[in-house]
């Protein structure tokens, strides 16, 4: 096996920046294809009328998950060399909650706001500036929250490790969950779409 190619030294840092750019183009392209350059479409997820965010995200997750799993099993990719960010369970959960609030208020996330800004959305540009401001606040207050930020460090933890279950079993479970979720999304959209719940209040 000689993948991940970068980790096996097939190319250096400078080429990796070009790779980053190209991958980024693909990333931005498909985000826009899905309609994520529009805050309205993104926010509609949270009113149950248009669950595109869920469908796209989870399709992407299971595609990459299945692809990586099978490539590793065949031996084309060394899974242990793929970087897994360490789990800091409490700050990640709290951060996620805050991010969720920001998502429904602002209507974008950092990646999609770039797509929105690139397609002319003024609110996308403003959102981007807001993100920078938020990071600034974080950086300035870092000394105060440093300890919380580094708390509950569980290290690199995957579900197979946590539950002691075979990797393949969890792949299957996630696929089932996603397919079930898609069916549920289909039903919710039929029921509440396209304007979503509370649309008349």
């Amino acid at each position: 096996m000689n993948a991940p190619f970068f980790k096996f030294g097939l190319f250096g840092d400078d080429v990796s920046l070009v790779v980053a750019f190209v991958i980024g183009i693909g990333f931005g392209f498909f985000l826009e294809r899905a309609g994520f350059g529009s805050a309205r479409k993104l926010a509609a997820q949270f009113y149950l009328g248009d669950l595109t965010v869920f469908k796209v995200m989870f399709t992407a997750i299971i595609t990459a998950m299945i692809g990586l799993y099978y490539l590793s099993v065949i031996g084309l990719v060394d899974l242990s060399l793929v970087y897994i960010s360490p789990t800091y369970i409490i700050p990640q959960t709290i951060g996620g909650l805050i991010l969720g609030l920001g998502f429904v208020i602002g209507g974008y996330c950092p990646g999609t706001s770039c797509v929105a800004a690139a397609t002319g959305r003024t609110d996308g540009i403003v959102f981007l500036l807001g993100v920078v401001a938020g990071i600034f606040v974080f950086g300035e207050s870092f000394n105060l929250i440093k300890e919380f930020y580094s708390s509950s460090d569980l290290g690199q933890l995957t579900f197979p490790q946590l539950l002691g279950l075979p990797y393949g079993l969890l792949v299957f479970a996630v696929v089932l969950m996603a397919l079930g979720g898609f069916a549920g999304a289909h039903w919710l959209e039929k029921k509440f779409g396209p304007k979503g719940i509370w649309s008349n209040s």
């Binding site: 995200m57 990640q92 609030l101 807001g130 401001a133």
Partner: protein, 194 residues
């Protein structure tokens, strides 16, 4: 009607006129599952080529830290968080994988939008709110997002998509929290969207 309602109505009328007289009509969005498949393959290629996943918020931190360093180098250097992104000086902080990736996101997003005639100067908002308010919310929401993303060490691209595909426990917890937070607040900001 109230003057505020009048203002909103006039603005909406204005927008609708603009939209109907645009040169080409926007193409419909792709089937979300196909778009998700494409996204997943991009993510997979990052795994296979680089041994890492995607991201976005890290690039913003790099840019911010570099900016602060340019304006107030001592402050940047003495701040533990910014220094992390500035590195030890052997490499320019903007020569960062995520920075280049995010530049690509701009390009890719524009490309797709241009091909589908979806590029236009506009403000995305619901019918019941003014542009000014929407922009204020966009800024505020962005700020919350920026703060939350740093606290969680990632945003939806880095943590949810990447970590999700890798069965990373913290990332799934993060993902659930994002949906929980957003759904919890959705009712209270509905006027912005509906």
């Amino acid at each position: 009607m109230t003057s505020q309602a009048k203002a909103v109505l006039l603005e909406n009328f204005d927008t609708q006129v603009k939209e109907h007289t645009s040169v080409k009509t926007a193409k419909p969005y792709w089937n979300p599952y196909l778009a998700g498949l494409g996204l997943g393959l991009v993510l997979l290629s990052a795994f296979v080529i680089m041994g890492r996943g995607l991201g976005a918020s890290g690039a913003f931190s790099s840019v911010l830290s570099t900016g602060i360093q340019a304006i107030a180098p001592d402050h940047a250097g003495s701040n533990e968080y910014y220094s992390e992104y500035l590195g030890d000086g052997t490499r320019h902080p903007l020569k960062d994988w995520l920075v280049f990736e995010v530049l690509g996101v701009f390009v890719g997003g524009f490309l797709s939008g241009a091909l589908a005639h979806r590029v236009k100067r506009t403000v995305e908002k619901g019918p019941r709110i003014t542009t000014a308010k929407r922009l204020a919310f966009a800024f505020g929401g962005g700020a919350l997002m920026g703060f939350g993303a740093k606290l969680a060490r990632g945003c939806t691209s880095g943590q949810a998509l990447t970590g999700g595909a890798l069965l990373n426990v913290g990332s799934w917890a993060f993902m659930m929290a994002v949906f929980a937070g957003a759904y919890a607040l959705a009712y209270f900001v509905r006027r912005q969207w509906q």
